[in-house]
Symmetry: C2
Subunit: 333 residues, 2 copies
């Protein structure tokens, strides 16, 4: 029996991972509590035995695997939503489509110390985290079962974190999720018509307008998007067209670490809110995937996702991105 | 200057309502607090002057408007996301599409008493609430500016409620939101191919299978859908094909009140969680809108909407709907 099942809604393009094993997580399905400090944190240095064996670590070369001495550590999720063993099944029912829950679900532990916020990490530490993303993407895309790899962060209980120790997650999937698929299709369609990337055009416009720019480096722009879903939403995007995060150069990793740390610190200086971020990188196998333009979307969870958002797929945002960018830009750190 | 602006993301089909006036709500943008009882509740009987004048009330006929003596009261939202005055504008920028925020945003106050949960209301009271939905839908669809009308409930702070007094909301919009549009398109496409409604087929299958059924009345089925996004998600759907909620008969309103109250009480008996519900009714102006099949989706907010959900548009659910339905069905009330 697989640990989970991928089910598609019979009417709309909405897949659900039915992952009953995940209900065994120590903090799963509690609605009120922040994770307490009453039990030892499995992500802290010295508790390596509490997680599955590491698949990657940046550490003192003299320290053996799964012992202290690491800076960043990547482990399989102990309560995975998807199981990396097994083959992709074919659906047997055309109306109620279900697939076995095959995928890779990993946790990137971003610090050996029990930090609660990525904004507290040093720039070099964040660079190591980004390097780990790149390394795992390169390894996992060789597995022909995966069609897309999502990397995302849940920081704070209201943003979906069940453990408070600073970490992010990677989910390699046998399907291309709707949000990435729609974005990729729109970019391909625009490119087919105009021979140009819509995100590249957007960046030109943002740079000449300037009102929504938050910060900039040689290779990246950080801006509050025109149709920001959340107050103080920030996107970090490479200026040069680039479809996949895994092709990012070492110097760009350094710049991105600076941009990400600055963004998180500026956000924290305005409002201490839970947040998610999501790495948008091209689907792995699609034709014309080179028309994608990778970027990182930082989504502060200041407002709640309520009935309107669930009913419509749209959002109500009470802070205009022009005002958000101005506040973020002018904040003295 | 309009109170808000509808903006479309330049790449994907995602509209955002930029509603800066809503940041003036007394409890807006607080992330930690439940609304306190330290200030008087504007939805309680006796505080009618704290809301805009009512557009509908079921009350003792001798009591004048905007005074006590009502059972259910509908008022314009004091901090509306959209403004009912003004004409639909045409976008002037083809890349960054923005429309003036024209729409109707109303609040349905479901009880004169300060109840926190709809499950506490008597069946007749819930019937009045549903009747108010029907009446406002019938009135508002005569306004040719609206293409869709959403009715939804936010119950509990984590589900997006800023006031705890039991209420729901109505939003009439000049666009058809993505979730309704995709559902309607899928139903039309299936009907074009098969001359049959996909939801009607789904109901046949659910009834013959039985594992996901929670409760049933002469006209309605309550079931946990095959691809439930949330643990204990319940849909209430009319057995006979019916596109629009506004055509629901009085006897059906009574049955639906029973079904809804039972569902909410059964949910509350298993887990005391915040929840949303969303009324799915046909878009107002589309061709072939008769192929829609209206229903009510009850979405308990037990799990958090986290990075995975935002990145993918999909969900991770730790309780299989077959198990959820069994628990809900067998609960002794």
């Amino acid at each position: 029996m697989a640990i989970s099942e991928l089910r598609k809604d019979p009417v709309v393009d909405r897949w659900v991972i039915i992952a009953t094993e995940r209900s065994k997580r120590p903090h799963a399905n509690r609605t009120r509590t922040e994770s307490g400090r009453d039990e030892p944190c499995p992500f802290c240095a010295g508790r390596e035995g509490d997680t599955p064996p590491e698949v990657l670590a940046y550490r003192d070369p003299s320290a053996p695997a799964d012992t202290p001495g690491w800076r960043v550590r990547v482990v399989p999720n102990k309560y995975p939503a998807l199981d990396s063993m097994g083959d992709i099944s074919l659906p047997t029912d055309s109306a109620y489509v279900a697939l076995s829950g095959v995928g890779a679900h990993e946790v990137i532990i971003e610090s050996p110390k029990h930090c609660l916020s990525m904004a507290e990490l040093a720039e070099g530490q964040i660079e190591d985290v980004l390097r780990a993303y790149r390394e795992r993407l390169i390894v996992l895309q060789n597995d022909r079962r995966w069609k897309s790899i999502l990397i995302y962060k849940n920081q704070g209980s209201a943003a979906g974190a069940t453990l408070e120790h600073v970490h992010s997650q990677l989910l390699a999937m046998s399907i291309v999720p709707r949000e990435i698929d729609h974005e990729w299709r729109a970019l391909v369609s625009h490119h087919d018509m105009t021979n140009s990337c819509l995100y590249c055009e957007m960046l030109d416009r943002e740079r000449s307008d300037g009102r929504r720019i938050v910060l900039e480096s040689a290779a990246f722009i950080g801006f509050c998007p025109f149709a920001s879903r959340f107050p103080f939403e920030i996107w970090l995007m490479p200026k040069e067209h680039s479809p996949m995060f895994d092709s990012v150069a070492n110097d760009e990793l350094r710049q991105l670490a600076f941009m990400l740390r600055q963004s998180l610190q500026r956000l924290a200086g305005i409002v201490d809110a839970p947040l998610n971020y999501v790495l948008h990188s091209a689907p792995l196998k699609e034709a014309k995937r080179d028309h994608y333009h990778w970027h990182l979307e930082i989504l502060p969870r200041i407002s709640k996702i309520a009935g309107f958002e669930l009913a419509s797929g749209y959002y109500i945002n009470t802070v205009a991105p022009e005002s958000a960018a101005l506040q973020l830009r002018e904040l003295a750190l």
